[in-house]
């Protein structure tokens, strides 16, 4: 394993920022630390960088214990949330900073900066100052600057947080391509699920200083291992107190009173001329609709429950107040610690009936 964290604990006063954190990262992987704010993800990143020090536990980079190695000598590249470009230096001097620290020759610096500017697509802007660049351009300069010292690990703290939504998507893809091309082991912090899923090879989900689960986006999405992950990933409706028994096709699982249902797990059919009636069908009323681009999120009232469903617009038109049939293909039942995937019992025999 390339990066290894072993039983890391870190307190800020009474606040437990890291609670026995352990994980391992393979060389060349792009990892997202995903969690709500205050979950300790940035602290983990800063401890790997050496900007913060764990109270106990060990951090290894490339098999070497780095606990006592200062940030200067850890061989990491760090991209700050605010970019932290030096406003009084040109783009060239910003990127050259780390190489000048390392006493590289003038020619070497000039050619490396040129190479990096080309890599990040900012040729010809070397004489500009940071305040003469757009947010996206600044981010690219910060990225180039972090790479200039040829680090073993690239660490990015909320790299897209300060960029407007339109550029953000483009920049995400760009960053992913770039990191893949360079093959550098990278970890980035984010609170945006969409971003994490889209960019990262693997996710580490953090909550209250703990690592809840680590795995590929698909793995985490399909098999949440803990109650937190089941609720946090996706935009689930949470049912308490065995309420999920009311959903057709599901029966009570002992000691797991709660359930999370994602909108993608709910299929909706028009109430009128429904051809294929299934025993899993339930009839409900649409009480709220929310436009989501190519789909609409429906809130369906059923008994005393409110279920959310993701509905493709081109299937059929639905408006508030309509009655619809719907069925739930799967849900996550969970107790305080563990989550289990339950598949609709009436659909188990003909698995082509459900998806995701």
């Amino acid at each position: 394993m390339y990066i290894k964290l072993e039983n890391i604990n870190k307190n800020f006063g009474n606040f437990k920022a890291s609670d026995n954190v352990s994980f391992e990262i393979e060389k060349g992987k792009l990892i997202a630390l995903l969690g709500p704010s205050g979950s300790g993800k940035t602290t983990i990143l800063r401890m790997i960088a050496g900007l913060e020090h764990q109270d106990d536990g060990n951090i290894y980079i490339d098999g070497k214990l780095v606990n006592d190695i200062s940030v200067q000598d850890r061989g990491i590249g760090f991209v700050f949330q605010s970019y932290a470009l030096f406003p009084y230096l040109t783009v060239f001097d910003n990127i050259a900073y780390g190489m000048r620290v390392r006493k590289k020759s003038k020619e070497e610096i000039a050619s490396k900066v040129e190479e990096l500017l080309e890599l990040v697509g900012l040729e010809g802007l070397s004489k500009r100052y940071p305040d003469q660049l757009s947010g996206g351009q600044r981010q690219r300069v910060a990225f180039a600057r972090a790479l200039a010292t040829e680090p073993q690990v690239l660490l990015l703290d909320e790299p897209f947080a300060a960029i407007d939504a339109k550029v953000r998507k483009e920049l995400r893809r760009w960053l992913k391509d770039m990191i893949e091309k360079l093959g550098i082991t990278s970890i980035f912090v984010t609170h945006d699920q969409e971003e994490a899923v889209e960019v990262a090879d693997e996710l580490i989900i953090t909550n209250q200083g703990r690592v809840e689960q680590m795995g590929t986006p698909v793995d985490i999405y399909r098999n949440p291992k803990t109650a937190f992950v089941a609720q946090f990933i996706g935009e689930s409706v949470i049912l308490e107190d065995y309420e999920y028994e009311k959903i057709k096709g599901f029966s009570k699982k002992e000691n797991t009173p709660k359930a999370a249902i994602r909108p993608e797990f709910v299929q909706v059919f028009p109430a009128g001329n429904r051809q294929e009636k299934s025993s899993a069908d339930m009839k409900g009323k649409v009480i709220h609709t929310e436009f989501r681009g190519t789909s609409v999120e429906l809130t369906i009232a059923y008994e005393n429950l409110e279920i959310k469903a993701s509905h493709q617009i081109e299937d059929f038109a639905v408006k508030k107040g309509d009655e619809v049939y719907f069925k739930v293909t799967r849900l996550y039942a969970f107790d305080d610690n563990n989550a289990y995937t339950l598949i609709n019992e009436t659909l188990k025999d003909n698995p082509e009936m459900y998806y995701i």
Binding site: A49, L51, S70, V71, Q72, S82, A84, F86, G98
Partner: protein, 255 residues
Amino acid sequence: MENQNSIITKILKSGVITWILLLLIWSFGALFYTPDFLPNPIVTIEGAKDLVTSGTLFADIIVSLGRVLKGWSLGLLFAIPVGLCVGNFKVISYVFEPFLNFFRFVPAIGFITLFLLWFGVGETSKVALIFYAVIFPVMVNTIAGVRSVDYSLVEAAESMGASKRRTFFTVIVPSAVPNIFTGARLGLSGAIICIVAAEMLAASEGLGYLIYTSRLYYRTDWIFAGIFTLGLIGFLADKLLRFLGAKFLYRFGVR
């Protein structure tokens, strides 16, 4: 209409109105008193004319400016490095700050007699007094500048391998420039304010000397001329300083 509006705003912004108002109030007030008590603008200009033709005003300006510049630049040379160190190094700040926070409330005028006693009646005591007036605003602002450095810049430098020393010179010092510049401006005004006090005792020339000794001849108009000259010098010096700051330190955030 819009054109007219913009001309009016331009005039308002230029500050001309302020000066005209001041002149009017002054002239009006002077109607009720003798020129010895409150000379009107015309009397003052005539008085200033005497001073100009005799050459004393010009000579006094040169002398006072020389003292101000000497005290000010020595003050900057001392206060900026000290402020940078106090702001950056905890141990130095523990030792130095109580001293700083005590003396910065003691005005330079309080030291006139002591400085005459210690540095004699020559130039040294006057420059020392201005130096004293300059160093506190410069130190206080420099310290504040160091302490308000965006810490992520420091971390960025360190993550690229920069030592503490290198970070100090390449990140902390440049980031503190706008505050240092503000301190220098305040120091300059402090120096000009202090020149009168410095030249009040044991001086034979200078604007402060002119203002202080004119009372002996009942030349209130000369006092007024001296006061206006001082104000004008301060006003122009600050303008020049800001112009130079914006021109050469723009990249460091001086506006």
